[in-house]
Symmetry: C2
Subunit: 328 residues, 2 copies
Amino acid sequence: MGTKIRLGIVGYGNLGRGVEAAIAQNPDAELVGIFTRRGPGTVRPLSANVAVHALDGVDAFADRIDVLVLCGGSKSDLPEQGPALAGRFNTVDSFDTHARIPQYFDAVDAAARAAGKLSIIAVGWDPGLFSLARLYGESVLTHGATYTFWGRGLSQGHSDAIRRVPGVRAGVQYTVPVSEAIERVRGGENPSLSTREKHTRECWVVLDEGADARAVERAIRTMPDYFADYDTTVHFIDEPTLRREHSAMPHGGFVIRTGTTGERSSQTVEFSLKLDSNPEFTASVLVAYARAAARLSRRGETGARTVFDIAPALLSPKSAAALRAELL
Amino acid sequence: MGTKIRLGIVGYGNLGRGVEAAIAQNPDAELVGIFTRRGPGTVRPLSANVAVHALDGVDAFADRIDVLVLCGGSKSDLPEQGPALAGRFNTVDSFDTHARIPQYFDAVDAAARAAGKLSIIAVGWDPGLFSLARLYGESVLTHGATYTFWGRGLSQGHSDAIRRVPGVRAGVQYTVPVSEAIERVRGGENPSLSTREKHTRECWVVLDEGADARAVERAIRTMPDYFADYDTTVHFIDEPTLRREHSAMPHGGFVIRTGTTGERSSQTVEFSLKLDSNPEFTASVLVAYARAAARLSRRGETGARTVFDIAPALLSPKSAAALRAELL
């Protein structure tokens, strides 16, 4: 490849920190700077050598950055930043609101096309590597069913929901896949599984002083959308225990495709992840796709892409010949 | 897509039959005919409607076939047929002699380029989907190790080796991954594993009348390259038992990538297959890649490709917008 891929990070929460760490693991990539809304002095990079800039000055870096890695949230940051920045830079992001992907894709695509830039959206593990597992699975086993299980892992959205319950000072929620359901799927039984049969939810809660534990537990377990359709357990702990035992962000899950070929051969394809750190893993996927974005842009390609559009070889620093010799 | 993808099958053993069955599962594909060296009357297709032709007359079908699916063996058929047919048709094949892939790629690439055709080589599960798992794994987790385990599954090469031992009338060999080794890898231990520690070999043998069982067992267990480096068990059975219990062709395996991100987060990516029928599954992968070959050729692309070069979306009959909405 010759020259390094020059990356910028937009937003510096857990994901942004993960991207900084992932760039350090990729010798063909370099970090030009971190861009945040509030600018220098408001965040502290892992490496003291990394410059922090105000996001509203990012245009001045147009010639020095090959790809911006957008690390904002899908709820309010990316719907605005994604299309705006795609009109000035090549970008990759981990937009993960599944239902809104089509409209987000269209907005980014229009901006990137108009500017002659390339953006890869919805990169990570779900959407991302799990989406790929679903696509490869159903393309190969046309007659079958696909199952996705998540966890055991910390769910940010559900943890936020717990923390909004009156009487809750702090708390986290783990999504736990039901082993019996996974075994039935792996066995080729092709079961119809209800929401309740696929996952359980496990909450670890620190109460405000004087709060009514039974009322809090009831409020959590009956919360519509988030908990009511699941078997939910609520554990009460103190704050030091929460910090000590529940501050990591593990996650993972399983995509299983079972199908039938020929007369009645049962075939099973399974992809799974077991992650100590969800944001660091998502960040690592983003950096690999940033490499692909830089290459496609250099070829003159423009517009929005997803993981489905990216030839796997574009993710690797190795040459096509090396990949064939070493990995095929 | 509009019109159907018109496919021809070259070679009609287990894999060719699997391709015939797989085409029947893909409504956007149709089978134009089966081509064999010995021609009509020598093979019997699954469907009585399918025409069988002599391979040396295949050129007459140039305008009626979009992609030829080459179902010959990697030892003697494909090294000759692959480049020869790539000079006249778009092709896909399951060339699987890992060490010879670079030279096979070059030969097919030269022929296909000269003819303005497109070929995808080494398609199946290993090489194929397992290769993809290795590539995605190391591209995302740059600091780590990749492990491939095969089985439990019937190995054609090792079964052939058994059958060449004097005193053996018939037999099959199963490659069995060692569970303890898989668990150590999954645990992120990053172990150095010897050949013997990764797989065992299990042989089921029918003796010729009067053959010396102990001599046969010794000959198998000490056979260099095939068995000497493994813990091998040899079971003697009668011919009806062999036919009844060992005529299926199950296979499968595991590709596990473990790596570290950030300070010391351990991350694990695993891809696995459990197949009742190895040839039917390989055939299903071939048909999905034949779809990709037809599309790339229609765009004017030429030369040889591998699974690494194929954007996943090209494998699916669904539109890009449908894939984003349904699978991302």
